[in-house]
Symmetry: C2
Subunit: 375 residues, 2 copies
Amino acid sequence: MYRVCLVGFGYRGRYLLQLLQQLPSVQVVGIADPQATESPGDEISLYNRGDQDYRRMIEHERPDLVVIASPWQCHTEQALYCAKAGIHIALEIRGGTSWEDYTPLLEVAEVAGVRIYPLENTVFMREVMAIGQMIEQGVFGEILYLRGGYRHDLRHLLVSPSGELGGEGAEAAWRVRYYLEQEADLYPTHGFAPLALWARLRREEEIKRLEALASSSRGLAAYLDRYAIEGQRPSILTPDIVTTQIETDRGILISLIHDTTLPRPKSLDYEVQGTKGIWNADRRALYLEGMSPEGAWQTDEPYLQHYLHPLWRAWGEEALRIDQHHQGMDYMMLRTLLEDLAHPGLYPTDLNDLALWSSITPRSAASLARGKLRN
Amino acid sequence: MYRVCLVGFGYRGRYLLQLLQQLPSVQVVGIADPQATESPGDEISLYNRGDQDYRRMIEHERPDLVVIASPWQCHTEQALYCAKAGIHIALEIRGGTSWEDYTPLLEVAEVAGVRIYPLENTVFMREVMAIGQMIEQGVFGEILYLRGGYRHDLRHLLVSPSGELGGEGAEAAWRVRYYLEQEADLYPTHGFAPLALWARLRREEEIKRLEALASSSRGLAAYLDRYAIEGQRPSILTPDIVTTQIETDRGILISLIHDTTLPRPKSLDYEVQGTKGIWNADRRALYLEGMSPEGAWQTDEPYLQHYLHPLWRAWGEEALRIDQHHQGMDYMMLRTLLEDLAHPGLYPTDLNDLALWSSITPRSAASLARGKLRN
């Protein structure tokens, strides 16, 4: 039985708890969140006496694993504390914003023999894992082009029901600050993490060239205009659309998009293209030369089934049943993580990956700034 | 009755002839192509005595309009000759490769009072024209992001049936040269022309920033490897995938892709995104906030029908019947062109547009070269 604690009990923390409670060998013993008012269960102690109360929880509960799902700016500090205490960490996306932000944590974790699991759930999607198997087995030939991104309308998370940016009741009021302050791809990992794995990109040095470009920022202002609220409109720095193009040492071109302030259906925009064929996630279709009908898309399902990842073969049925909201990927992630505690090596990513993925934010910011300088 | 001559009688010229013969008020009187062996009709004179024989045709036939559909490298010279002779020109894509290449032609055409019609058929697609109407009427709100490109597997055009790059029987043997010599987006206009019109981008100076990135070039080599042919593999300079990102003065981000040497179904990859919604061509779907079901794609057909362009209302039925191969867009283009001869102002683009569109090739090449320099 693993004793597990949670730091951060917002939208994301609540969902993770619900899944953890349905996993074998897990006993959630504590939750720390300064804004939580009530424990979600009799056996779960609540630590809500301020921002630092999570430390008391760690000392008191001595958990085997801490799940960190607090606001971004708290992640690395909290993780450092847990690592020093010798406790394994499941780390939500995204804490640091550059490789450097994670450096102390990487060092402490190594000395303490602590494992840090990035909770990037897109890596565990059924389609993503199956396509990964196909890429590894050469089904798409040599990979040349990968596309992906975070295309998710977050305006309702950032604006309160009464129409205030970050106001009372906004689901992620803390997140607004980043939109005011950063001209960058704010949240690269959902799109980038699978692409980086598919491209076998593990170190920043393997990025040969990176350029980000951007549109204006109009989406949030247009959204706020619906409400008749007096006073100044805050000036939003984050562009509605940021695209980041990356050339890797292996000759792969990666296209990333960040698109979170315009009305649209959700999409991760994945595409994989090689010398033997192409897969497009939004169409749920692929084309493989010599196998698909000449020049025509074919539904990907029979292929995904054929190349299903072993973890999905093992736990896919329960993942889809228990984690309907996220099509099984969150369940699969936590299940793999727990298995990895006992049998290290199963979890497909580590803190180095997270640091690489997160570095897209400052690098896209730098490219946008360079572009302005040149104009 | 307009007397029309054709310069260039390859794959493209043949199809244009077939359409011209079904248009009202058109009499095709001559065809010039050094490789043509037979006239396609009794009333059509054939001029095939070498590269310059088109000049004899112009002098002899004195047409009202010349359609130029020869290999790219011949376009501007032939167009200049026709313009000097005071004859209107329908100009296939793409002749010049930069604004400068078209400068003499622009000047001569103006002095001679000659109209030059770029034959960029994607501008005349039913969907493209309807979406243009929707953008103009503000249905998508303020436009922030436009995506498009030329994603068309051309390997069979470039490689002969016996497996030689540009060899005997390759449909566009002349085109191979560009793949050997240019590291660039070789053919931007199919993707870019509609985007430029939608973005109201008419002058190069309105491009604030442009960056192209690229993958390796492996597609043609992998294709040639299927044939057991002796000797050296030519080295291909054009990358399999080139993406070009453009920021415009109006704050619109444009994403272009060039993708012609990998196996895939055809796509122009169009997407239009604004403060009120999004359209995706590949899905043939749109999302308009407050109109579409919350967060869900909706088929675009009822909207396209509602916002159908007046030219499609007038000639859509005959376009679809006569030009099935290209879903009516070539017919619509030629029909509009002929109407414009009598009533100038109807044709939506001119040589300035073509020069702007074509300039993506040298600008993408320059950006790729700058990127290498920086590495």
